[in-house]
C-alpha cells in the first residue's frame, strides 16, 4: 500500500512529531504501523492533487445561514447532580486538580501571570 520511501507522504519522524502535537504516545511498533497506515491513506487521498479547484474561491463555503446571536434570556444549561465535581477525576476544594505544571513550561497559556 505504501509507496517507495522517497515518495512517502509521512516519515516515522513526522509521525512522532504529529503524535506529540496530538498528545499521543504510540510505542515504537505503533509508530511503525501508523506510518504505514497513514501513508496508505494519504496515497488514497492523493487523487485530490489532480482536481481542478480553481472555480472555487476562498469565500465559497458550504453556505450556511449567518450566525444568529444567542437570545440573552436563555439560561445556561443546568448541570445535573453534583457536576462538575461528580465527573472530575481529581477534585479538591472546588478545583480540578492536575500534577503541578513545571515553571516556565508551555507556551501560550491563558495569559496567566506565572509565579
Amino acid at each position: 500500500m505504501s509507496g517507495s520511501k522517497d515518495q512517502r507522504a509521512v516519515s516515522g519522524q513526522d509521525v512522532r512529531r504529529i503524535a506529540e502535537l496530538a498528545r499521543l504516545r504510540p510505542d515504537q511498533e505503533a509508530v511503525r504501523q501508523l506510518t504505514e497506515e497513514l501513508n496508505g491513506i494519504l496515497e488514497h487521498v492523493r487523487v485530490l492533487e489532480t482536481l481542478d479547484v480553481s472555480e472555487i474561491d476562498e469565500e465559497d463555503s458550504l453556505t450556511l445561514d449567518p450566525v444568529l446571536c444567542r437570545d440573552p434570556k436563555i439560561a445556561p444549561d443546568e448541570l445535573r447532580g453534583d457536576a462538575p465535581r461528580s465527573i472530575a477525576p481529581d477534585w479538591r476544594d472546588g478545583f480540578f486538580v492536575v500534577p503541578r505544571l513545571p515553571a516556565l513550561d508551555q507556551s501560550d497559556s491563558s495569559g496567566d501571570v506565572v509565579e
Binding site: I18, A22, R23, L24, H44, V45, L62, P89
Partner: protein, 487 residues
C-alpha cells in the same frame, strides 16, 4: 416479528390506557436481554433500563427507543463506545433526547457503536462488536450498528443514531431497516458528542419509513443551543408521505453504478428502479462528476475536525485519567493513548497532519474546495430537474466480521455512496430493497436540502411497491446460519 405493533399503534394503546405505560418498554427490555444470551450474542445494547414515559398523551407515549451511545442521556452512561468515557454519565441531556421524552418516548438503552462514531462496522467499539441480526458472522454496519441491529432484530421499532459519512444509512442497509440522515442543520447537535462537526447529524432508524419519519418529526427543528441548526419551519413529514411516486423525476447517477458495486446489489437496484418506473416515476440518468473525490475529501475533512473535537479528552475534567501519572504531559499522553482505540488514534493523527503548518493548504484547504465542487454537482442535478436521486446505499451487503479490520482503506470504501450526502449537507434515506441470500440490501434516496418530505414520499412509495419482498424484521439469537447463506 412483523406482527409487532408499530410505534403509532404503541402510542395509541398507551394514550388510551389500553396497556400500562411501560408495557412495551418491558417487552423490549426482555428482548434486549434475550438477544444477548443466545449462542451468537447480538450485543446491540451497552445499557438497558426500564423507564416509564414522562408524558402519557404524547405522539410517542410508551414507545421504547434505542439511543446511540454518543447521545447524552441523564441516567445511562454516554461512553461513545470508548474506554476513555467508559463510565461517563453526562450532567446534561441532548436536545433530541429531551424532545423524545417530551413526546412520551422512553429511552430503552444506549446502543453500541464504533468508537466516537468512527467506523463502518461497529467493530471499533471498545466494548466488543455487535452482530448482524440476519447473520451473526457478519457486521451490522457502522457506526450506528447497535441502533440498526436493535431495530433489525425486532427489539425496538425505532432508534436514534448519528450519520457523519453514512453511519445511519449503511447499517440500515446491512440490517434491513430504514435509516434517515436529515439535511445538515435540520436536527440539533446539542448533546451529540461531536465527531466531525460540519458533517454530523442525528439520524433516525425505523422498522418502516413512516416510523423513521415520525421519529424525525419529533426531533427536527431549531435549537437555540446549536448555532448550526436552522430556523426553517419543519413541515409535516407524514402529510404527503403516501402520495406515491407518480410524476416524480428520479435521477440515477452513473458514478454510483461502477465496478465497485456488487452485481447482486446492482440487480436489486435495477429492479427497484423498474418498479418505480412502472409506477409512473420518470427515471433519468444524471452525472455527479466529482463523486470519485468524495471519499478522499471526506477522509481529510472528517479526521481533521475530529482531531480537534477529541482534544478535550485529556483526563483533566472528566473521563478516564490514566493512573500513575505524575505530570500534566503524562496525564494527557497516557490517558489519551490508553483511552483511545486504534482507529481513533489513526484518525487523530491523520487529521492533525492535515491541519498542521505547511500541510493545511495542500490537504485541508484543498479538501474544502473539493467539497464545494461535490455540493455543486448536486445543485446542478436539482436544477436540471431531478426531484430525488436513487443509488445503492453501500457497494456490498454486510461483510464478515474481521474482513476489513486490517485495511483501513477497504473499510472506508464501504462509505462511497453515503459520504457525498454529508459533504453536500443534503438528506438521505436507506430503505430495504431486497436481499442477497439472507443479507438485506438497502437502496438510497437523496434529495435537495430541506426536502425530506419529498424524499420520504419516494421512499415510502418504493416500500409499498416492494411490500413483502424485503427481509423480515426480527431475529432469534439461537438460530445458526444455514448452508450457503452469507459469504
Amino acid at each position: 416479528m412483523t406482527s409487532d405493533p408499530t410505534i403509532f399503534e404503541i402510542a395509541s394503546r398507551v394514550r388510551s390506557a389500553e396497556v400500562a405505560p411501560d408495557h412495551f418498554v418491558r417487552e423490549s427490555a426482555r428482548r434486549a436481554r434475550a438477544g444477548d444470551t443466545g449462542l451468537n450474542s447480538l450485543h446491540a445494547f451497552l445499557s438497558v433500563q426500564e423507564d416509564t414515559p414522562d408524558v402519557l398523551d404524547g405522539v410517542l407515549s410508551g414507545v421504547p427507543v434505542a439511543v446511540k451511545d454518543n447521545l447524552c442521556t441523564r441516567t445511562l452512561a454516554t461512553s461513545c463506545g470508548s474506554r476513555i468515557l467508559a463510565e461517563y454519565v453526562s450532567p446534561f441531556e441532548a436536545t433530541v433526547v429531551l424532545k423524545l421524552l417530551a413526546a412520551g418516548g422512553v429511552v430503552l438503552g444506549k446502543t453500541n457503536m464504533d468508537e466516537f462514531a468512527m467506523g463502518s462496522s461497529t467493530e471499533n467499539s471498545a466494548f466488543g462488536a455487535t452482530r448482524n441480526p440476519h447473520d451473526p458472522t457478519r457486521v451490522p454496519g457502522g457506526s450506528s450498528g447497535g441502533s440498526a441491529a436493535a431495530v433489525g432484530a425486532g427489539i425496538v421499532r425505532c432508534a436514534l443514531g448519528s450519520d457523519t459519512g453514512g453511519s445511519v444509512r449503511q447499517p440500515a442497509s446491512f440490517c434491513g431497516v430504514v435509516g434517515i440522515k436529515p439535511t445538515y442543520g435540520r436536527v440539533s447537535r446539542y448533546g451529540l458528542v461531536a465527531f466531525a462537526s460540519s458533517l454530523d447529524q442525528v439520524g433516525t432508524f425505523g422498522a418502516t419509513v413512516e416510523e423513521a419519519a415520525l421519529l424525525l418529526q419529533i426531533i427536527a427543528g431549531q435549537d437555540p443551543r446549536d448555532a448550526t441548526s436552522s430556523n426553517r419551519e419543519v413541515p409535516d413529514y407524514l402529510e404527503e408521505i403516501d402520495a406515491g411516486v407518480e410524476g416524480l423525476t428520479v435521477g440515477v447517477p452513473a458514478e454510483y453504478f461502477t465496478e465497485a458495486l456488487d452485481p447482486e446489489v446492482r440487480q436489486l437496484c435495477e429492479e427497484a428502479l423498474d418498479r418505480l418506473r412502472k409506477a409512473g416515476a420518470l427515471i433519468r440518468e444524471v452525472s455527479l462528476p466529482h463523486t470519485q473525490y468524495a471519499v478522499p475529501t471526506y477522509y481529510i475533512l472528517a479526521p481533521a475536525e475530529a482531531s480537534s473535537n477529541l482534544a478535550r479528552y485529556d483526563g483533566v475534567r472528566y473521563g478516564m485519567r490514566a493512573p500513575g501519572t505524575d505530570s500534566v504531559a503524562a496525564v494527557y499522553e497516557a490517558s489519551r493513548t490508553q483511552g483511545f482505540g486504534g482507529e481513533i488514534i489513526r484518525r487523530i493523527m491523520l487529521g492533525t497532519f492535515a491541519l498542521s503548518a505547511g500541510y493545511y493548504e495542500a490537504y485541508y484547504g484543498r479538501a474544502q474546495k473539493a467539497r464545494a465542487l461535490i455540493a455543486r454537482d448536486f445543485e446542478r442535478v436539482w436544477e436540471g430537474g431531478a426531484d430525488v436521486l436513487f443509488t445503492p446505499t453501500s457497494p456490498t451487503p454486510a461483510f464478515p466480521l474481521g474482513e476489513r479490520t486490517q485495511d483501513p482503506v477497504s473499510m472506508y470504501l464501504s462509505d462511497i455512496y453515503t459520504v457525498t450526502a454529508n459533504l453536500a449537507g443534503i438528506p438521505g434515506i436507506s430503505v430495504p430493497i431486497g436481499s442477497v441470500g439472507r443479507l438485506p440490501v438497502g437502496g438510497q434516496f437523496l434529495a435537495p436540502r430541506w426536502e425530506e418530505a419529498r424524499m420520504l414520499r419516494a421512499a415510502r412509495g418504493l416500500e409499498v411497491l416492494l411490500g413483502g419482498e424485503v427481509p423480515e424484521v426480527g431475529w432469534d439469537s439461537g438460530r445458526e446460519p444455514s448452508e450457503g447463506e452469507g459469504e
